[in-house]
Assembly symmetry: C2
Homo-oligomer: 259 residues x 2
């Protein structure tokens, strides 16, 4: 029995999130279906990030165990022919047989995209949050800095969260601004941390947008964090702007690097 690690990209628009659930189409459900068909036996993946409905990923990770005798990288074409075209395996490799992508140290990078423009653009409707009010990017950048470090992020997670601790470490928050050919700008908030609470990135994005329109001052951010009260932070920004960009595992997770 070998454990295989997949790097999975998907457009989450047409899915009820990553996690398998009865009577709903999910990323995990589609992966299980494709793998079970390929292996001719029931397979269940373990995913690294249970992204929400409408959220996208370039690099989510899922592992599964197989008896199939084929080279690890061959799972890429074998699965892609079995998956719908909005889910694509980017790479596959053998990993340690006890590697669990949710029970290990890792660094995750999420991006939240905002289409800042007077009128929406159809091609961005499912992959950016359309925002027509003027945004003070400099203020947003000053606010972003305060999220860095090890904090109790209880004010930045949804009530649904069930977790041992709401303390997380944010390594970096960066805001990038690009002009769009059609006019207007695409603003990308990039956040790297050792893990994120439920809706945490979307609440940080929603709070930074409040800073952008002047409703929250950049220097208010430390007070909001310290309050640990959800009601003090901004609204949860909508899912379609969010994308899981990268997961890096500390100490190596592949068979090769662990040897």
């Amino acid at each position: 029995m070998r454990r295989i690690l997949l790097r999975v990209s998907y457009d989450g628009t047409n899915y009820h999130g990553f996690q398998e659930q009865p009577n709903a189409v999910t990323i995990e459900g589609e992966l299980n279906k494709a793998l079970s068909d390929l292996n001719q036996t029931e397979i269940h993946v373990i995913g690294a990030s249970r992204t929400d409905a409408g959220v996208h990923a370039y690099d989510n990770v899922a592992v599964f165990d197989t008896e199939l005798r084929m080279s690890a990288e061959k799972f890429v074409p074998a699965l892609n022919t079995r998956l719908p075209d909005d889910i694509v395996i980017q790479s596959s490799e053998e990993c340690e047989s006890d590697f669990h992508p949710r029970k290990c140290d890792c660094k995750k990078t999420y991006e939240y995209r905002i289409l800042a423009r007077k009128v929406p653009l159809p091609e961005y409707r499912n992959n950016a949050y359309f925002f027509y009010r003027p945004l003070d990017i400099k203020a947003m950048e000053r606010a972003a800095i305060f999220f860095k470090g090890r904090h109790d992020f209880n004010a930045f997670c949804s009530a649904k969260t069930v977790t041992k601790t709401t303390i997380r470490t944010i390594y970096n928050v960066a805001i990038r601004e690009e002009k769009i050919k059609e006019g207007g700008r695409l603003i990308t908030i990039s956040i790297t941390g050792n893990g994120f609470l439920y809706n945490m990135v979307r609440i940080i994005a929603g709070t930074l947008l409040q800073v952008g329109i002047g409703a929250i001052k950049p220097t208010d951010i430390p007070k909001i964090i310290m309050s640990k009260e959800r009601e003090n932070a901004g609204p949860t920004a909508p899912p379609q702007g969010l994308k899981l960009k990268k997961i890096e595992f500390k100490g190596g997770k592949s068979k090769k690097s662990a040897e």
Copy 2:
């Protein structure tokens, strides 16, 4: 009665092309529905480009006549609230009452996008043609030059074409290459002309891809054009890579510029 000119952007993925037809969802049909609802009377637009199923536009043009007394630019929000979110009016203005967007001199620019990469990316599945074979961009650029000028493009149009003449003028063909963050490249073929035959841009793109893989030599292009035989050109590239980027009308079409 005033004639209003709309600049219309859309994601063509979910439409059977621009032109209204019975029992099919089309861009024109949606525009007519939204306008008829707003005007409380049946309205039919005249479109500039009848793009095919799956083809996109940033800047298609449609005109309609109205008795409504509202300032021309107010049609933008009034229509956008009535249209599905994959069709967006970018601007509206009054034009000459006899202006017909298919019966006037104009310059159209189309772009054809190719995702050159070993594995597809979900977010490009509906807006670029995935192509995994290596492409010689320099050869494609050398080939592209031969399309410029006034030629009989009969070899580059589908049999369906009903037109007085297959002579068209191409002002420019440019090939742009961008690296993608996730790895791989996005190749954009940009073509400007005074009009295009049925499937012409997609056949030029398909032919340039044949040049890119070495199946056609750049210096073969003049011979293919001169042959006037469709079978000598490359295949018709798929619709999702194509986007109508810009329509410029010569001599002005707006009320203001004509005064």
